[in-house]
């Protein structure tokens, strides 16, 4: 008799904090820039001196509207600012200007591709704009330093519904969000620079063999700043919560409610965090120093017009129209510019699949080496289109095409000229090709006989002879012509 098992369904919601790529901070004119010496991008406003006032950064609002619209959120006609009060040395005013009951965007969704090729829609509860806090620096034994360069940097907080049920779904959502905000130019979303941070809410719905349902406490893991930490924290919590409930039947949502935990990166574990006494009461109230944000249709439409095709739609189009594989289409939709190169090359008359091979071949290798996007490698749509056409028209073979591409990446130039200069253009002189074929057949009587015999080794022998002809031609003979000619010569008499 096998032991009946519990059915465990992880339920995860994710808060994603995205620092926006604005020139200046949310409420002052200080530079929004990572990595400068401590307290160099500061002014009386962002260090919270008495009597100074915040002034809203319109670009930050537009970036946020863009993200909200791309997430299919309702962008509210009227939103306002609120103060969220808590005391912490990196928060100079001891309140954060945020949005409480009227967020900029609400009720959206993000379609997330899953590893098995399926997609899942994750609902977005709200997206609101706020100012980031500074950073406490613990590099001195007796003191804590405070760097306020980050204080006042615009931060978009995107809160999902608890729609994710596995580590994979969480990771797919987080990566899709990173791709989206980068795509829109709203954020660089660079994890090393802290542009993106995650706070997952995790609990388990455990269905017991007798059909009863148990839910574990909702755990919010604070301040995860890498994908690895996110993955680790969610996976760890799923295990930990189940084990905790198994050893203590009162480890339930009813019993314990919501709790916060931190992430110990070195040990790969979540750790209990002592609750701050006031953590539950932020004493929100409307920020009297700022006027509400009124979004009219004209503004909303102007922002929407700047969004263009989104990555998921483009990937689908590439698969449907260009007949690309999921992997190919996905690789071409990490950023908007790479796909624009492909689309322009196709518009210039080249074959989409051929262009894709070029983009994901030498160009992708170069991009990988330089750590940049495909488009940023610098090969233009026209260069790609010309080379693709040459290959498809037999003016150059694919192998030689690779060499031309390598040369274009290194030195630029038009494909035909580069191919000519490198003496890589296909030989179209029938007599010359026939001569290479005859020489190859004469020099390799064994394989030639095998082909003529049509036995089980003939295919391999044919390819050997093909190779010999290509070698003799210096790679310049069009393979299709060689194949045809060779087949004719060796057909059984």
């Amino acid at each position: 008799m096998t032991e009946a098992k519990d059915n465990i369904l992880p339920v995860v919601g994710l808060e994603v904090h995205v620092e926006l790529a604005t020139a200046t901070k949310m409420f002052c004119r200080c530079r929004n820039h990572f990595g400068d010496p401590p307290n160099t991008n500061v002014c009386p406003v962002c260090i919270g001196m008495p009597g100074v006032l915040p002034v809203m950064n319109r670009q930050a609002v537009e970036h946020s509207m863009k993200v909200a619209l791309a997430l299919d959120c309702t962008v509210a006609d009227f939103t306002k600012w609120d103060r969220k009060g808590y005391y912490y040395p990196d928060l100079p005013k001891n309140y954060q200007i945020s949005q409480y009951d009227l967020p900029l965007g609400h009720d959206g969704r993000l379609e997330v591709p899953l590893p098995d090729g399926a997609a899942k829609t994750i609902r977005v509860l709200r997206a609101h704009l706020e100012e980031d806090a500074g950073k406490n620096i613990h590099d001195h034994p007796a003191h804590t330093g405070v760097d306020l360069n980050r204080a006042g940097v615009p931060l978009l907080e995107i809160v999902s519904e608890p729609d994710m049920n596995s580590v994979e779904e969480v990771m797919a959502y987080a990566r899709a969000m990173q791709r989206l905000v980068r795509w829109l130019g709203a954020s660089e979303a660079n994890m090393q620079m802290g542009h993106m941070r995650f706070e997952p809410n995790i609990n388990l719905h455990i269905t017991r063999p007798d059909g009863t349902l148990v839910t574990t406490p909702i755990i919010e893991v604070k301040n995860l700043n890498s994908f690895r930490a996110l993955e680790g924290a969610v996976a760890y919590e799923i295990q930990r919560q189940y084990a905790a409930w198994q050893s203590d039947p009162n480890y339930t949502l009813e019993g314990l409610g919501k709790q916060n935990r931190g992430w110990d990166d070195a040990r790969g574990q979540t750790v209990f965090q002592r609750e701050k006494e006031e953590a539950h009461d932020y004493r929100y109230f409307p920020e009297p120093d700022l006027v509400p944000v009124v979004v009219d249709d004209a503004w909303r439409e102007a922002v929407a017009a700047g969004i263009g095709e989104l990555p998921l739609a483009r990937r689908k189009r590439y698969m449907d129209e260009y007949r690309l594989s999921f992997k190919e289409a996905d690789a071409l939709t990490h950023d908007p510019a790479s796909g624009e190169v492909l689309d322009a090359a196709v518009a210039a008359g080249a074959d989409a699949k051929r262009c894709t091979n070029l983009l994901l071949g030498r160009i992708a290798a170069a991009a990988n080496e330089k750590g940049c996007t495909l488009a940023a490698v610098g090969v233009s749509a026209d260069q790609i289109a010309e080379l693709a056409r040459m290959i498809d028209e037999g003016r150059i073979n694919a192998t030689a095409g690779e060499k031309v591409m390598a040369a274009m990446i290194a030195e630029g130039g038009r494909a035909a000229q580069v191919a000519e200069r490198l003496n890589l253009l296909a030989v179209t002189d029938a007599a010359a090709i026939e001569q290479w074929v005859d020489q190859a057949v004469a020099a390799n009587p064994g394989p030639a006989d095998q082909v003529r015999a049509g036995d089980k080794k003939s295919a391999k022998a044919f390819n050997f002879l093909m190779g010999a002809v290509m070698k003799a031609s210096g790679g310049k003979a069009p393979p299709a012509v060689v194949r045809q000619l060779l087949a004719a010569k060796l057909s059984r008499k």
Binding site: G48, M49, P50, G51, P89, P92, D281, R283, F285
Partner: protein, 503 residues
């Protein structure tokens, strides 16, 4: 020129422009007045004598060189010590900021200086503008130039006393619930709180941000129009400042409104009002009537003042006002934590929480602590709806009452204070009694409206009585002209406090 401080700001400005009086001479003469009266009045936290003389000498040099002079060229003014200046300290009369030097200049003060005014010093106030008597200054109480045993009112008590004692030609104050108008009335000067947003709050240390407004305290209405015109206007650094052009208030000040309907809000004439003040305000109404104004009866139901059998006053407006301003104050004053600037405890502390609590316990006075605690309570989860949200609803109803009333009249005439200046120490024991000193002034702060306080005569005890004119949003010009109309018709203007007269 011992009579320079006797001149109005406008007269002095004109005399300097005409070369009859030197700017440096004027400043020196005011510095002499300060030397003479300050020991008795204690209006200033800091006098910037050296800088003031330098600035005045520059005005004289500009004039000599034929360079254009500003609208206040050479006029010595005092500034309440909650407006940030990069020179001297900005203390808010608090131990917390006793040594604080701001690296920036408040827009209103900047505008004064751009117009050539000479900032002569920073004036005492109730700590962080919380109070109605200037007794809550962490440094010293200021005394009323009309009676040294009495308070000058507050929180802009130092500014009002300085103008009243002619230690400056005019002053800036700030008004959250009456902090310009109440001390102006107690000291027998003109005090004006413009429409919320008419004057930039940039550089004004915040108390109740949705209520705070900077305004002038002056000897007469022409000076009030002059200063208001200089400091008003939109400021890109204050999002709540109103983007509307500023009329030339001074140009129209002596033209009485062609027609004027004056509303007497019946709720303000209850048993709570001192009989002499009641008499004075009705006297003012008669003056207006004699000048052709129409007097109408209006109602502000939600500004009603009730008195129970035991004689205790209560008012929706006072309740709503204190909840809103304390809630905002609890947040605005959170930044004074000893971490970034200002007072920090010298005691050894175990952790950051102890640093915060010790610093704040030492740095803030009793009244400030009281308001921070009450405001924190009102915003706490579970109490927010019952207090803060309800106060916002009352605020809306009060504002609606004014809108309704202004359908029947152009301006409202009412008392500025329920009593004349009270004795030092009389109300410090009972904060609630002190809060009720604002019953006639706070309603319009809640509604964001402009309010003008001007002298309406003296009581039998020889203390100034203030009256108040209230207008709709951006009715500054009408209010100033209506005030001037009374001033000229009644002859009650530029009252000389005994300290100036008596020598």
């Amino acid at each position: 020129m011992s009579d320079i401080p006797d001149m109005s700001a406008l007269e002095l400005r004109d005399a300097i422009a005409a070369g009859k009086v030197g700017a440096a001479e004027a400043t020196r003469s005011y510095l002499q007045a300060i030397e003479k009266h300050e020991p008795a009045v204690a209006a200033f936290n800091e006098v910037h004598a050296e800088r003031a003389i330098q600035r005045a000498e520059q005005i004289d040099a500009d004039r000599a060189a034929g360079r254009p002079l500003g609208a206040l060229a050479g006029v010595p003014v005092a500034v309440k010590d909650n407006m940030c200046t990069p020179y001297g300290r900005t203390t808010c009369s608090s131990k917390m900021l006793a040594a604080f030097r701001a690296p920036y200049l408040a827009t209103a003060v900047d505008k004064l200086e751009q117009a050539g005014a000479v900032v002569i010093g920073k004036t005492n106030m109730d700590e962080f503008a919380m109070g109605s008597s200037t007794e809550h200054s962490a440094f010293k109480p200021t005394r009323n130039p009309w009676d040294a045993d009495r308070v000058p009112g507050g929180s802009s008590g130092g500014s009002a006393a300085a103008v009243s004692a002619r230690m400056c030609a005019a002053a800036l104050g700030s008004d959250t619930g009456g902090s310009i108008r109440q001390p102006a009335s107690f000291c027998g000067v003109v005090g004006f709180k413009p429409t919320y947003g008419r004057v930039s709050r940039y550089g004004l240390v915040a108390f109740g941000s949705s209520l705070d407004q900077i305004g002038p305290l002056t000897g007469d209405l022409a000076d009030c129009a002059l200063i208001t015109g200089v400091i008003a206007g939109h400021d890109p650094r204050d999002s709540t400042s109103i983007p509307q052009p500023v009329p030339d208030y001074l140009a129209s000040i002596d033209t009485p409104p062609a027609t004027l309907r004056i509303g007497l809000p019946r709720e303000f004439y209850s048993e709570a009002l001192d009989a002499e003040i009641n008499e004075a305000i009705h006297g003012a109404a008669k003056v207006y009537k004699s000048q052709g104004a129409e007097i109408v009866d209006v109602s502000l139901p939600h500004s009603r003042i009730d008195i129970d059998a035991a004689g205790n006053l209560s008012s929706y407006a006072v309740a709503a006002y204190y909840i809103v301003c304390m809630a905002e104050a609890s947040s605005n004053l959170a930044r004074y934590d000893g971490v970034h600037y200002g007072h920090r405890t010298a005691e050894p502390v175990d952790d950051i929480i102890e640093l915060y609590s010790r610093t704040r316990a030492e740095g803030f006075g009793e009244e400030v602590k009281r308001r921070i605690m009450l405001g924190t309570y009102a915003l706490s989860s579970g109490y927010y709806d019952a207090y803060y949200l309800k106060a916002l609803k009352v605020r809306r109803l009060i504002a609606n009452d004014f809108t309704e009333a202004f359908k029947a009249c152009d301006v409202l005439l009412c008392p500025a204070t329920p009593t004349t200046a009270f004795k030092i120490g009389e109300k410090t024991a009972d904060p609630l009694t002190m809060y009720l000193a604002d019953i006639y002034t706070i309603s319009l702060n809640l509604a964001g409206l402009p309010g003008l306080a001007l002298p309406a005569g003296l009581s039998r005890a020889g203390l100034p009585i203030g009256m108040q004119l209230i207008g709709p949003v951006l009715s500054e010009e009408t209010l100033l002209r209506a005030g001037r109309m009374y001033e000229k018709a009644s002859g009650v203007m530029r009252l000389r406090s005994p300290i100036v007269n008596g020598n």
